[in-house]
Protein backbone atom coordinates (compact mmCIF):
# COMPACT_ATOMS: atom_id res chain seq x y z
CA UNK A 1 0.00 0.00 0.00
CA UNK A 2 1.55 3.26 -0.98
CA UNK A 3 0.88 6.83 -1.92
CA UNK A 4 2.63 8.13 -5.03
CA UNK A 5 3.69 11.75 -5.31
CA UNK A 6 5.25 13.35 -8.38
CA UNK A 7 6.84 16.76 -7.91
CA UNK A 8 7.75 19.02 -10.84
CA UNK A 9 8.70 15.99 -12.88
CA UNK A 10 10.43 16.65 -16.19
CA UNK A 11 11.89 14.42 -18.88
CA UNK A 12 13.85 15.34 -21.97
CA UNK A 13 15.17 13.13 -24.73
CA UNK A 14 18.05 15.22 -26.05
CA UNK A 15 16.60 18.62 -26.90
CA UNK A 16 13.00 17.39 -26.91
CA UNK A 17 11.11 17.84 -23.67
CA UNK A 18 8.36 15.19 -23.44
CA UNK A 19 7.25 15.66 -19.82
CA UNK A 20 7.01 19.35 -19.02
CA UNK A 21 6.67 19.59 -15.27
CA UNK A 22 4.11 17.21 -13.77
CA UNK A 23 2.81 17.51 -10.20
CA UNK A 24 0.49 14.77 -9.09
CA UNK A 25 -0.61 12.92 -5.95
CA UNK A 26 -2.06 9.43 -6.22
CA UNK A 27 -3.60 8.46 -2.89
CA UNK A 28 -3.07 5.11 -1.23
CA UNK A 29 -5.38 2.49 -2.71
CA UNK A 30 -6.54 4.71 -5.52
CA UNK A 31 -7.15 3.52 -9.10
CA UNK A 32 -5.61 6.30 -11.14
CA UNK A 33 -5.80 6.34 -14.94
CA UNK A 34 -3.49 8.37 -17.18
CA UNK A 35 -5.30 9.09 -20.40
CA UNK A 36 -4.40 11.12 -23.43
CA UNK A 37 -3.74 10.91 -27.15
CA UNK A 38 -0.73 8.97 -28.39
CA UNK A 39 2.51 10.85 -27.92
CA UNK A 40 1.21 12.85 -24.95
CA UNK A 41 3.83 11.33 -22.64
CA UNK A 42 1.58 9.09 -20.53
CA UNK A 43 3.65 5.95 -21.07
CA UNK A 44 6.87 7.87 -20.47
CA UNK A 45 5.43 9.16 -17.20
CA UNK A 46 4.53 5.60 -16.14
CA UNK A 47 7.99 4.35 -17.08
CA UNK A 48 9.53 7.14 -15.01
CA UNK A 49 7.47 6.02 -12.00
CA UNK A 50 8.60 2.43 -12.62
CA UNK A 51 12.25 3.48 -12.84
CA UNK A 52 12.73 2.19 -16.39
CA UNK A 53 13.14 5.77 -17.61
CA UNK A 54 15.49 8.19 -15.89
CA UNK A 55 14.12 11.43 -14.50
CA UNK A 56 15.61 14.64 -15.92
CA UNK A 57 14.47 16.78 -12.99
CA UNK A 58 11.89 16.64 -10.22
CA UNK A 59 11.21 13.91 -7.66
CA UNK A 60 9.12 10.77 -7.30
CA UNK A 61 7.95 9.58 -3.89
CA UNK A 62 6.39 6.19 -3.31
CA UNK A 63 5.09 5.38 0.17
CA UNK A 64 6.75 8.48 1.58
CA UNK A 65 10.27 7.56 0.39
CA UNK A 66 12.08 9.45 -2.35
CA UNK A 67 12.71 6.86 -5.07
CA UNK A 68 13.69 9.24 -7.88
CA UNK A 69 17.04 7.49 -8.38
CA UNK A 70 16.16 4.06 -6.96
CA UNK A 71 16.35 0.82 -8.94
CA UNK A 72 12.96 -0.36 -10.29
CA UNK A 73 13.03 -3.43 -8.04
CA UNK A 74 13.58 -1.28 -4.94
CA UNK A 75 10.51 0.89 -5.51
CA UNK A 76 7.83 -1.56 -4.41
CA UNK A 77 6.17 -1.52 -7.81
CA UNK A 78 5.11 -4.16 -10.31
CA UNK A 79 4.37 -3.51 -13.93
CA UNK A 80 2.08 -5.12 -16.51
CA UNK A 81 3.27 -4.46 -20.04
CA UNK A 82 1.21 -3.90 -23.16
CA UNK A 83 2.90 -6.89 -24.81
CA UNK A 84 2.59 -8.86 -21.51
CA UNK A 85 6.37 -9.52 -21.73
CA UNK A 86 6.09 -13.09 -20.46
CA UNK A 87 9.38 -15.00 -20.58
CA UNK A 88 8.81 -17.40 -23.51
CA UNK A 89 11.18 -20.10 -22.25
CA UNK A 90 9.60 -20.36 -18.78
CA UNK A 91 6.33 -21.99 -17.76
CA UNK A 92 3.51 -19.93 -16.28
CA UNK A 93 4.60 -21.02 -12.80
CA UNK A 94 8.23 -20.01 -13.44
CA UNK A 95 7.11 -16.75 -15.01
CA UNK A 96 5.09 -15.83 -11.95
CA UNK A 97 7.80 -16.91 -9.54
CA UNK A 98 10.70 -15.31 -11.44
CA UNK A 99 10.88 -12.19 -9.30
CA UNK A 100 10.76 -14.21 -6.09
CA UNK A 101 13.47 -16.59 -7.30
CA UNK A 102 15.70 -13.59 -8.06
CA UNK A 103 15.09 -12.46 -4.50
CA UNK A 104 16.36 -15.94 -3.42
CA UNK A 105 13.15 -16.95 -1.72
CA UNK A 106 13.06 -20.70 -0.86
CA UNK A 107 11.44 -22.85 -3.56
CA UNK A 108 8.53 -24.17 -1.48
CA UNK A 109 7.66 -20.65 -0.39
CA UNK A 110 7.67 -19.46 -4.02
CA UNK A 111 5.40 -22.36 -4.97
CA UNK A 112 3.00 -21.44 -2.16
CA UNK A 113 2.88 -17.77 -3.22
CA UNK A 114 2.36 -18.66 -6.88
CA UNK A 115 -0.42 -21.13 -6.01
CA UNK A 116 -2.18 -18.51 -3.90
CA UNK A 117 -2.18 -15.96 -6.73
CA UNK A 118 -3.05 -18.58 -9.36
CA UNK A 119 -6.16 -19.38 -7.31
CA UNK A 120 -7.24 -15.71 -7.33
CA UNK A 121 -6.88 -15.48 -11.12
CA UNK A 122 -8.07 -19.04 -11.90
CA UNK A 123 -4.74 -19.91 -13.47
CA UNK A 124 -4.23 -23.28 -11.77
CA UNK A 125 -4.83 -25.45 -14.87
CA UNK A 126 -2.32 -23.39 -16.86
CA UNK A 127 0.59 -23.37 -14.43
CA UNK A 128 2.75 -25.86 -16.34
CA UNK A 129 2.17 -24.41 -19.79
CA UNK A 130 4.52 -22.17 -21.73
CA UNK A 131 3.22 -18.71 -22.77
CA UNK A 132 2.95 -19.73 -26.43
CA UNK A 133 0.28 -22.27 -25.48
CA UNK A 134 -1.95 -19.58 -23.94
CA UNK A 135 -4.61 -17.33 -25.49
CA UNK A 136 -4.30 -13.55 -25.35
CA UNK A 137 -6.61 -13.24 -22.36
CA UNK A 138 -4.78 -15.98 -20.47
CA UNK A 139 -1.41 -14.34 -21.13
CA UNK A 140 -2.84 -11.10 -19.83
CA UNK A 141 -3.94 -12.87 -16.66
CA UNK A 142 -0.50 -14.43 -16.19
CA UNK A 143 1.13 -11.02 -16.59
CA UNK A 144 -1.19 -9.63 -13.91
CA UNK A 145 -0.48 -12.68 -11.75
CA UNK A 146 3.25 -12.10 -12.06
CA UNK A 147 2.68 -8.57 -10.80
CA UNK A 148 0.51 -9.67 -7.85
CA UNK A 149 2.99 -12.34 -6.70
CA UNK A 150 5.56 -9.64 -5.96
CA UNK A 151 3.06 -8.07 -3.54
CA UNK A 152 3.86 -4.51 -4.61
CA UNK A 153 2.55 -1.31 -3.07
CA UNK A 154 1.82 0.13 -6.51
CA UNK A 155 0.69 -1.63 -9.68
CA UNK A 156 1.59 -0.02 -12.98
CA UNK A 157 -0.37 -0.98 -16.10
CA UNK A 158 0.84 0.14 -19.53
CA UNK A 159 -2.14 -0.17 -21.90
CA UNK A 160 -2.67 -3.78 -20.79
CA UNK A 161 -5.91 -4.36 -22.68
CA UNK A 162 -5.06 -2.91 -26.06
CA UNK A 163 -4.10 -6.27 -27.59
CA UNK A 164 -7.40 -7.95 -26.66
CA UNK A 165 -10.61 -8.10 -28.69
CA UNK A 166 -13.55 -5.91 -27.68
CA UNK A 167 -15.51 -8.58 -25.76
CA UNK A 168 -12.50 -9.74 -23.77
CA UNK A 169 -11.49 -6.16 -23.10
CA UNK A 170 -14.79 -5.31 -21.42
CA UNK A 171 -14.59 -8.52 -19.38
CA UNK A 172 -11.03 -7.75 -18.27
CA UNK A 173 -12.10 -4.22 -17.33
CA UNK A 174 -14.52 -5.71 -14.82
CA UNK A 175 -11.93 -8.20 -13.56
CA UNK A 176 -9.35 -5.50 -13.04
CA UNK A 177 -11.86 -3.36 -11.15
CA UNK A 178 -12.74 -6.37 -8.96
CA UNK A 179 -9.07 -7.09 -8.42
CA UNK A 180 -8.47 -3.52 -7.34
CA UNK A 181 -11.30 -3.73 -4.83
CA UNK A 182 -9.93 -7.04 -3.55
CA UNK A 183 -6.27 -6.10 -3.24
CA UNK A 184 -6.85 -2.49 -2.20
CA UNK A 185 -3.49 -1.58 -3.75
CA UNK A 186 -2.63 1.66 -5.49
CA UNK A 187 -2.93 1.19 -9.25
CA UNK A 188 -1.76 3.48 -12.01
CA UNK A 189 -3.13 2.62 -15.40
CA UNK A 190 -2.19 4.10 -18.76
CA UNK A 191 -4.61 4.01 -21.67
CA UNK A 192 -5.57 6.03 -24.71
CA UNK A 193 -9.12 4.65 -24.49
CA UNK A 194 -11.33 7.10 -22.64
CA UNK A 195 -13.97 4.36 -22.10
CA UNK A 196 -11.45 2.37 -20.02
CA UNK A 197 -10.60 5.52 -18.13
CA UNK A 198 -14.23 6.41 -17.41
CA UNK A 199 -15.27 2.91 -16.33
CA UNK A 200 -12.35 1.93 -14.12
CA UNK A 201 -10.83 5.03 -12.59
CA UNK A 202 -11.23 6.62 -9.17
CA UNK A 203 -9.17 9.46 -10.55
CA UNK A 204 -8.44 10.35 -14.15
CA UNK A 205 -5.39 12.34 -15.18
CA UNK A 206 -5.78 13.79 -18.67
CA UNK A 207 -2.41 14.44 -20.29
CA UNK A 208 -1.73 16.46 -23.38
CA UNK A 209 1.67 17.26 -24.90
CA UNK A 210 3.59 16.42 -21.71
CA UNK A 211 1.37 18.43 -19.37
CA UNK A 212 -1.53 17.57 -17.11
CA UNK A 213 -4.69 19.12 -18.53
CA UNK A 214 -6.99 18.14 -15.69
CA UNK A 215 -7.21 15.74 -12.75
CA UNK A 216 -10.51 14.57 -11.33
CA UNK A 217 -13.08 11.83 -10.93
CA UNK A 218 -14.64 10.55 -14.16
CA UNK A 219 -17.86 12.48 -13.57
CA UNK A 220 -15.92 15.63 -12.68
CA UNK A 221 -14.24 15.52 -16.05
CA UNK A 222 -17.50 14.81 -17.83
CA UNK A 223 -19.51 17.49 -16.05
CA UNK A 224 -16.84 20.15 -15.66
CA UNK A 225 -14.05 19.78 -18.24
CA UNK A 226 -11.54 22.52 -17.46
CA UNK A 227 -10.19 22.99 -20.97
CA UNK A 228 -11.47 22.51 -24.52
CA UNK A 229 -9.02 19.60 -24.87
CA UNK A 230 -10.55 17.68 -21.95
CA UNK A 231 -14.02 18.56 -23.18
CA UNK A 232 -13.22 17.03 -26.56
CA UNK A 233 -11.38 14.03 -25.18
CA UNK A 234 -13.76 12.79 -22.47
CA UNK A 235 -17.17 11.53 -23.53
CA UNK A 236 -18.27 9.41 -26.45
CA UNK A 237 -19.28 10.47 -29.01
CA UNK A 238 -17.06 13.53 -28.85
CA UNK A 239 -18.36 16.89 -27.73
CA UNK A 240 -19.17 19.38 -30.51
CA UNK A 241 -16.67 22.23 -30.21
CA UNK A 242 -16.93 25.45 -32.18
CA UNK A 243 -14.41 28.24 -32.53
CA UNK A 244 -14.30 31.58 -34.29
CA UNK A 245 -17.36 33.63 -35.19
CA UNK A 246 -19.88 31.05 -33.94
CA UNK A 247 -18.21 30.84 -30.53
CA UNK A 248 -17.91 34.62 -30.32
CA UNK A 249 -21.64 34.94 -30.87
CA UNK A 250 -22.07 32.60 -27.89
CA UNK A 251 -19.76 34.84 -25.83
CA UNK A 252 -16.62 32.68 -25.75
CA UNK A 253 -13.55 31.76 -27.79
CA UNK A 254 -14.56 28.09 -27.76
CA UNK A 255 -18.13 26.88 -27.38
CA UNK A 256 -18.99 23.23 -26.70
CA UNK A 257 -22.11 21.13 -26.42
CA UNK A 258 -22.26 17.34 -26.04
CA UNK A 259 -24.23 15.34 -28.63
CA UNK A 260 -26.47 13.95 -25.89
CA UNK A 261 -27.39 17.48 -24.77
CA UNK A 262 -28.79 18.56 -28.11
CA UNK A 263 -32.55 18.29 -28.48
CA UNK A 264 -33.49 17.06 -31.95
CA UNK A 265 -36.78 18.19 -33.41
CA UNK A 266 -38.41 17.94 -36.83
CA UNK A 267 -40.05 21.36 -36.87
CA UNK A 268 -38.55 23.82 -34.41
CA UNK A 269 -35.18 24.64 -32.81
CA UNK A 270 -32.16 26.95 -32.58
CA UNK A 271 -30.16 25.52 -35.47
CA UNK A 272 -31.48 24.09 -38.66
CA UNK A 273 -29.47 21.49 -40.56
CA UNK A 274 -29.59 18.52 -42.89
CA UNK A 275 -28.82 14.91 -41.96
CA UNK A 276 -25.63 13.66 -43.62
CA UNK A 277 -25.25 10.32 -41.90
CA UNK A 278 -27.11 8.17 -39.35
CA UNK A 279 -25.44 5.65 -37.01
CA UNK A 280 -28.03 3.34 -35.44
CA UNK A 281 -26.60 1.54 -32.41
CA UNK A 282 -29.90 0.13 -31.14
CA UNK A 283 -30.00 1.79 -27.75
CA UNK A 284 -29.30 5.14 -29.31
CA UNK A 285 -28.94 6.84 -32.65
CA UNK A 286 -26.17 9.23 -33.60
CA UNK A 287 -26.94 11.86 -36.21
CA UNK A 288 -24.31 13.64 -38.24
CA UNK A 289 -25.96 16.93 -39.13
CA UNK A 290 -24.58 19.61 -41.42
CA UNK A 291 -25.59 23.02 -40.04
CA UNK A 292 -24.90 26.13 -42.13
CA UNK A 293 -22.43 28.46 -40.33
CA UNK A 294 -21.53 25.76 -37.75
CA UNK A 295 -20.37 22.93 -39.98
CA UNK A 296 -20.81 19.26 -38.98
CA UNK A 297 -22.59 18.67 -35.66
CA UNK A 298 -23.13 15.36 -33.83
CA UNK A 299 -26.39 14.72 -32.01
CA UNK A 300 -27.40 11.68 -29.98
CA UNK A 301 -30.99 10.51 -29.55
CA UNK A 302 -32.12 7.64 -27.33
CA UNK A 303 -33.73 4.67 -29.03
CA UNK A 304 -33.61 4.16 -32.77
CA UNK A 305 -35.17 6.46 -35.25
CA UNK A 306 -34.89 6.55 -38.99
CA UNK A 307 -33.92 9.72 -40.83
CA UNK A 308 -33.54 9.94 -44.56
CA UNK A 309 -30.25 11.22 -45.92
CA UNK A 310 -30.72 14.97 -46.45
CA UNK A 311 -33.72 15.23 -44.10
CA UNK A 312 -34.17 18.61 -42.38
CA UNK A 313 -33.86 18.65 -38.57
CA UNK A 314 -33.68 21.29 -35.87
CA UNK A 315 -31.18 21.15 -33.01
CA UNK A 316 -31.52 22.96 -29.67
CA UNK A 317 -28.69 22.97 -27.11
CA UNK A 318 -29.62 22.40 -23.47
CA UNK A 319 -28.71 25.77 -21.89
CA UNK A 320 -27.71 24.05 -18.61
CA UNK A 321 -25.15 21.89 -20.35
CA UNK A 322 -23.30 24.35 -22.58
CA UNK A 323 -19.57 24.85 -22.13
CA UNK A 324 -17.84 28.15 -22.83
CA UNK A 325 -14.07 28.63 -22.85
CA UNK A 326 -12.07 31.82 -22.96
CA UNK A 327 -8.31 31.61 -23.62
CA UNK A 328 -8.20 27.85 -23.07
CA UNK A 329 -9.96 27.93 -19.67
CA UNK A 330 -13.58 27.62 -18.66
CA UNK A 331 -15.40 30.96 -18.81
CA UNK A 332 -17.75 31.57 -15.92
Amino acid sequence: MARVALNALRKSFGAVEVIKGVDLDVEDGEFCVFVGPSGCGKSTLLRMISGLEEVTSGTIEIGGADVTRAEPSKRGIAMVFQSYALYPHLTVRENMGFGLSLARMPKDQIAAEVDKVAAILQLEPLLDRKPKALSGGQRQRVAIGRAIVRDPGVFLFDEPLSNLDAALRSQMRLELTDLHARLGATMIYVTHDQVEAMTMADKIVVLNAGRIEQVGTPMDLYERPATPFVAGFIGSPKMNLFEGEVARRMGASVYGIRPEHLKVSDDDGTWQGTVRHVERLGADTILHVEVPDLGPVLARIEGHRTYAHGARVYLTPDPEREFRYQDGAAAS
Binding site: L52, P72, S73, M79, F81, S83, A85, P88, R146
Partner: protein, 274 residues
Amino acid sequence: MTRRQLLTGLASLAVATVVFILPFLFVLINAAKTPAEASQPSFAWPSEWHLWSNLVEVVQVRDYALLLAYFNSIVITVGAMTLLVIFAAMVGYVLQRRPTRFSKFVEFTALAGLMIPPAVVPTIWVLQQVNLFKTIHGMILIQVAYGLSFCILLFRAFISSIPRDLDEAAIVDGATPLQVFFRVILPLLKPVTLTVIVVQSITIFNDFTHPLYYLPGAENITVQLTLYNFQSQFTSQLNLLFMNILLITIPPLLVFVFFNRQIVAGMTSGAVKG
Protein backbone atom coordinates in the same frame (compact mmCIF):
# COMPACT_ATOMS: atom_id res chain seq x y z
CA MET B 1 4.85 -30.81 -60.48
CA THR B 2 5.09 -29.39 -63.95
CA ARG B 3 7.42 -30.81 -66.57
CA ARG B 4 9.62 -27.74 -66.29
CA GLN B 5 9.97 -28.13 -62.51
CA LEU B 6 10.84 -31.79 -62.98
CA LEU B 7 13.55 -31.01 -65.50
CA THR B 8 15.16 -28.22 -63.45
CA GLY B 9 14.97 -30.45 -60.37
CA LEU B 10 16.75 -33.29 -62.14
CA ALA B 11 19.34 -30.94 -63.58
CA SER B 12 20.19 -29.46 -60.19
CA LEU B 13 20.38 -32.93 -58.65
CA ALA B 14 22.83 -33.93 -61.38
CA VAL B 15 24.97 -30.86 -60.74
CA ALA B 16 24.91 -31.49 -56.99
CA THR B 17 25.97 -35.10 -57.57
CA VAL B 18 28.94 -34.04 -59.66
CA VAL B 19 30.00 -31.34 -57.23
CA PHE B 20 29.37 -33.04 -53.87
CA ILE B 21 29.02 -36.80 -54.26
CA LEU B 22 31.62 -37.66 -56.91
CA PRO B 23 34.63 -36.25 -54.99
CA PHE B 24 33.51 -38.16 -51.94
CA LEU B 25 33.21 -41.40 -53.94
CA PHE B 26 36.62 -40.75 -55.47
CA VAL B 27 38.13 -40.47 -52.00
CA LEU B 28 36.29 -43.57 -50.79
CA ILE B 29 37.37 -45.74 -53.75
CA ASN B 30 41.01 -44.70 -53.57
CA ALA B 31 41.09 -45.13 -49.82
CA ALA B 32 40.39 -48.81 -50.32
CA LYS B 33 43.24 -49.46 -52.76
CA THR B 34 46.74 -50.79 -52.31
CA PRO B 35 49.61 -48.25 -52.42
CA ALA B 36 50.52 -49.34 -55.94
CA GLU B 37 47.01 -48.97 -57.32
CA ALA B 38 46.43 -45.65 -55.54
CA SER B 39 49.64 -44.11 -56.87
CA GLN B 40 47.65 -43.31 -60.01
CA PRO B 41 44.34 -42.19 -58.43
CA SER B 42 41.33 -42.92 -60.60
CA PHE B 43 37.72 -44.00 -60.49
CA ALA B 44 38.80 -47.56 -61.31
CA TRP B 45 37.37 -50.11 -58.89
CA PRO B 46 40.05 -51.45 -56.49
CA SER B 47 41.17 -54.99 -57.32
CA GLU B 48 41.06 -55.83 -53.63
CA TRP B 49 39.27 -53.88 -50.87
CA HIS B 50 41.74 -52.74 -48.20
CA LEU B 51 39.46 -50.36 -46.31
CA TRP B 52 39.99 -51.86 -42.86
CA SER B 53 43.73 -52.49 -43.13
CA ASN B 54 44.30 -48.98 -44.51
CA LEU B 55 42.24 -47.55 -41.68
CA VAL B 56 44.28 -49.38 -39.05
CA GLU B 57 47.50 -48.26 -40.66
CA VAL B 58 46.40 -44.60 -40.80
CA VAL B 59 45.46 -44.65 -37.12
CA GLN B 60 48.70 -46.30 -36.06
CA VAL B 61 51.10 -44.23 -38.09
CA ARG B 62 53.57 -42.05 -36.17
CA ASP B 63 52.62 -43.45 -32.82
CA TYR B 64 48.87 -42.85 -33.11
CA ALA B 65 49.32 -39.24 -34.22
CA LEU B 66 45.78 -39.19 -35.65
CA LEU B 67 44.22 -39.90 -32.24
CA LEU B 68 46.30 -37.16 -30.64
CA ALA B 69 45.23 -34.86 -33.48
CA TYR B 70 41.56 -35.68 -32.84
CA PHE B 71 42.05 -34.91 -29.17
CA ASN B 72 43.79 -31.59 -29.87
CA SER B 73 41.25 -30.53 -32.48
CA ILE B 74 38.34 -31.36 -30.21
CA VAL B 75 39.87 -29.43 -27.31
CA ILE B 76 40.46 -26.42 -29.54
CA THR B 77 36.99 -26.58 -31.08
CA VAL B 78 35.10 -27.03 -27.81
CA GLY B 79 37.18 -24.42 -25.98
CA ALA B 80 36.88 -21.84 -28.75
CA MET B 81 33.16 -22.47 -29.20
CA THR B 82 32.41 -21.98 -25.51
CA LEU B 83 34.21 -18.66 -25.42
CA LEU B 84 32.82 -17.57 -28.79
CA VAL B 85 29.18 -18.18 -27.89
CA ILE B 86 29.38 -16.45 -24.51
CA PHE B 87 31.43 -13.45 -25.66
CA ALA B 88 29.66 -12.95 -28.99
CA ALA B 89 26.22 -13.17 -27.34
CA MET B 90 27.23 -10.69 -24.65
CA VAL B 91 28.77 -8.21 -27.08
CA GLY B 92 25.84 -8.61 -29.48
CA TYR B 93 23.41 -7.99 -26.62
CA VAL B 94 25.12 -4.81 -25.44
CA LEU B 95 25.54 -3.49 -28.99
CA GLN B 96 21.88 -4.08 -29.78
CA ARG B 97 20.44 -2.76 -26.52
CA ARG B 98 22.65 0.22 -25.72
CA PRO B 99 23.39 2.31 -28.78
CA THR B 100 26.03 4.74 -27.52
CA ARG B 101 29.03 6.30 -29.22
CA PHE B 102 31.28 3.69 -27.65
CA SER B 103 29.13 0.83 -28.94
CA LYS B 104 29.36 2.32 -32.44
CA PHE B 105 33.13 2.12 -32.12
CA VAL B 106 32.92 -1.49 -30.95
CA GLU B 107 30.64 -2.28 -33.86
CA PHE B 108 33.15 -0.76 -36.26
CA THR B 109 35.91 -2.85 -34.69
CA ALA B 110 33.83 -5.97 -35.16
CA LEU B 111 33.23 -5.13 -38.81
CA ALA B 112 36.92 -4.36 -39.25
CA GLY B 113 37.60 -7.86 -37.96
CA LEU B 114 35.66 -9.19 -40.93
CA MET B 115 37.22 -6.90 -43.49
CA ILE B 116 40.89 -6.57 -42.60
CA PRO B 117 42.92 -9.69 -43.35
CA PRO B 118 44.84 -11.04 -40.36
CA ALA B 119 48.63 -10.62 -40.38
CA VAL B 120 50.42 -13.83 -39.46
CA VAL B 121 53.91 -12.71 -38.49
CA PRO B 122 52.89 -9.94 -36.06
CA THR B 123 50.37 -12.31 -34.50
CA ILE B 124 53.10 -14.87 -33.89
CA TRP B 125 55.27 -12.14 -32.38
CA VAL B 126 52.46 -11.13 -30.00
CA LEU B 127 51.84 -14.76 -29.09
CA GLN B 128 55.55 -15.23 -28.32
CA GLN B 129 55.59 -12.13 -26.11
CA VAL B 130 52.69 -13.43 -23.99
CA ASN B 131 54.07 -17.00 -24.01
CA LEU B 132 51.08 -18.42 -25.87
CA PHE B 133 52.89 -19.46 -29.04
CA LYS B 134 52.82 -23.24 -29.66
CA THR B 135 50.17 -23.74 -26.97
CA ILE B 136 46.66 -25.14 -27.32
CA HIS B 137 45.10 -22.28 -25.35
CA GLY B 138 46.92 -19.78 -27.56
CA MET B 139 45.32 -21.51 -30.55
CA ILE B 140 41.91 -21.36 -28.85
CA LEU B 141 42.25 -17.59 -28.41
CA ILE B 142 43.31 -17.20 -32.04
CA GLN B 143 40.21 -19.06 -33.20
CA VAL B 144 38.01 -16.94 -30.92
CA ALA B 145 39.54 -13.78 -32.35
CA TYR B 146 38.97 -14.92 -35.93
CA GLY B 147 35.38 -16.05 -35.36
CA LEU B 148 34.15 -13.33 -33.00
CA SER B 149 33.16 -10.69 -35.57
CA PHE B 150 30.91 -12.95 -37.57
CA CYS B 151 29.27 -14.39 -34.44
CA ILE B 152 28.65 -10.93 -32.97
CA LEU B 153 26.80 -9.90 -36.12
CA LEU B 154 24.65 -13.04 -36.05
CA PHE B 155 23.80 -12.65 -32.35
CA ARG B 156 23.09 -8.95 -32.68
CA ALA B 157 20.65 -9.53 -35.53
CA PHE B 158 18.88 -12.21 -33.55
CA ILE B 159 18.69 -10.20 -30.34
CA SER B 160 16.98 -7.36 -32.20
CA SER B 161 14.03 -9.74 -32.63
CA ILE B 162 13.69 -10.22 -28.85
CA PRO B 163 11.36 -7.54 -27.49
CA ARG B 164 12.94 -5.08 -25.09
CA ASP B 165 9.88 -5.44 -22.85
CA LEU B 166 11.35 -8.76 -21.69
CA ASP B 167 14.50 -7.07 -20.41
CA GLU B 168 12.40 -4.44 -18.70
CA ALA B 169 10.06 -6.98 -17.14
CA ALA B 170 13.11 -8.75 -15.73
CA ILE B 171 14.56 -5.47 -14.44
CA VAL B 172 11.27 -4.66 -12.70
CA ASP B 173 11.33 -8.20 -11.29
CA GLY B 174 14.67 -7.31 -9.72
CA ALA B 175 17.20 -8.84 -12.11
CA THR B 176 20.72 -7.42 -12.32
CA PRO B 177 22.11 -6.83 -15.85
CA LEU B 178 23.98 -10.16 -15.69
CA GLN B 179 20.83 -11.97 -14.55
CA VAL B 180 18.83 -10.36 -17.37
CA PHE B 181 21.39 -11.72 -19.82
CA PHE B 182 21.93 -15.20 -18.41
CA ARG B 183 18.39 -15.99 -17.23
CA VAL B 184 16.23 -14.27 -19.84
CA ILE B 185 18.19 -13.46 -23.00
CA LEU B 186 20.67 -16.33 -23.32
CA PRO B 187 18.00 -19.10 -23.11
CA LEU B 188 16.12 -17.35 -25.92
CA LEU B 189 19.20 -17.37 -28.16
CA LYS B 190 19.08 -21.14 -28.63
CA PRO B 191 18.33 -21.15 -32.39
CA VAL B 192 21.10 -18.71 -33.31
CA THR B 193 23.50 -20.36 -30.84
CA LEU B 194 23.00 -23.68 -32.62
CA THR B 195 23.77 -22.01 -35.94
CA VAL B 196 26.89 -20.40 -34.55
CA ILE B 197 28.03 -23.69 -33.01
CA VAL B 198 27.56 -25.66 -36.21
CA VAL B 199 29.07 -23.12 -38.60
CA GLN B 200 31.99 -22.13 -36.40
CA SER B 201 32.85 -25.56 -35.02
CA ILE B 202 33.16 -26.93 -38.53
CA THR B 203 35.31 -23.99 -39.56
CA ILE B 204 37.57 -24.43 -36.56
CA PHE B 205 37.72 -28.21 -36.78
CA ASN B 206 38.56 -28.05 -40.47
CA ASP B 207 41.06 -25.23 -40.09
CA PHE B 208 44.36 -26.08 -41.80
CA THR B 209 46.34 -22.87 -42.18
CA HIS B 210 46.06 -21.33 -38.73
CA PRO B 211 47.24 -24.40 -36.78
CA LEU B 212 49.99 -24.68 -39.40
CA TYR B 213 51.23 -21.15 -38.57
CA TYR B 214 50.49 -20.82 -34.89
CA LEU B 215 50.73 -24.35 -33.56
CA PRO B 216 53.91 -26.03 -34.78
CA GLY B 217 55.27 -29.10 -33.01
CA ALA B 218 54.54 -32.82 -33.25
CA GLU B 219 52.64 -32.90 -29.94
CA ASN B 220 50.36 -30.05 -31.14
CA ILE B 221 49.17 -31.71 -34.32
CA THR B 222 45.54 -31.12 -35.37
CA VAL B 223 43.45 -33.29 -37.66
CA GLN B 224 43.93 -31.30 -40.83
CA LEU B 225 47.71 -31.36 -40.36
CA THR B 226 47.74 -35.18 -40.20
CA LEU B 227 47.38 -35.02 -43.98
CA TYR B 228 51.07 -34.14 -44.08
CA ASN B 229 51.84 -37.56 -42.62
CA PHE B 230 51.33 -39.17 -45.99
CA GLN B 231 52.56 -36.66 -48.44
CA SER B 232 56.04 -35.26 -48.45
CA GLN B 233 58.71 -34.39 -50.94
CA PHE B 234 60.04 -37.94 -51.30
CA THR B 235 57.22 -40.31 -50.41
CA SER B 236 53.51 -40.31 -50.90
CA GLN B 237 51.11 -42.98 -49.80
CA LEU B 238 48.01 -41.82 -51.58
CA ASN B 239 45.81 -44.67 -50.40
CA LEU B 240 46.50 -43.75 -46.77
CA LEU B 241 46.13 -40.06 -47.56
CA PHE B 242 42.67 -40.71 -48.97
CA MET B 243 41.77 -42.83 -45.95
CA ASN B 244 42.93 -40.00 -43.71
CA ILE B 245 40.76 -37.52 -45.63
CA LEU B 246 37.82 -39.87 -45.23
CA LEU B 247 38.32 -40.11 -41.46
CA ILE B 248 38.62 -36.40 -40.82
CA THR B 249 35.65 -35.56 -43.05
CA ILE B 250 33.26 -37.67 -41.03
CA PRO B 251 32.77 -35.56 -37.83
CA PRO B 252 31.79 -32.32 -39.62
CA LEU B 253 29.58 -34.33 -41.95
CA LEU B 254 27.70 -35.79 -38.98
CA VAL B 255 27.22 -32.33 -37.49
CA PHE B 256 25.75 -31.10 -40.75
CA VAL B 257 23.46 -34.09 -41.14
CA PHE B 258 21.98 -33.64 -37.67
CA PHE B 259 21.78 -29.85 -37.45
CA ASN B 260 21.23 -28.57 -40.98
CA ARG B 261 17.64 -27.54 -40.25
CA GLN B 262 18.66 -25.42 -37.26
CA ILE B 263 21.41 -23.74 -39.27
CA VAL B 264 18.94 -22.36 -41.77
CA ALA B 265 16.49 -21.39 -39.01
CA GLY B 266 19.16 -19.46 -37.12
CA MET B 267 20.63 -17.79 -40.21
CA THR B 268 17.31 -16.35 -41.35
CA SER B 269 15.76 -15.59 -37.97
CA GLY B 270 15.49 -11.91 -37.27
CA ALA B 271 15.46 -11.27 -41.01
CA VAL B 272 11.68 -10.92 -41.09
CA LYS B 273 9.66 -9.78 -38.14
CA GLY B 274 7.30 -12.52 -37.11
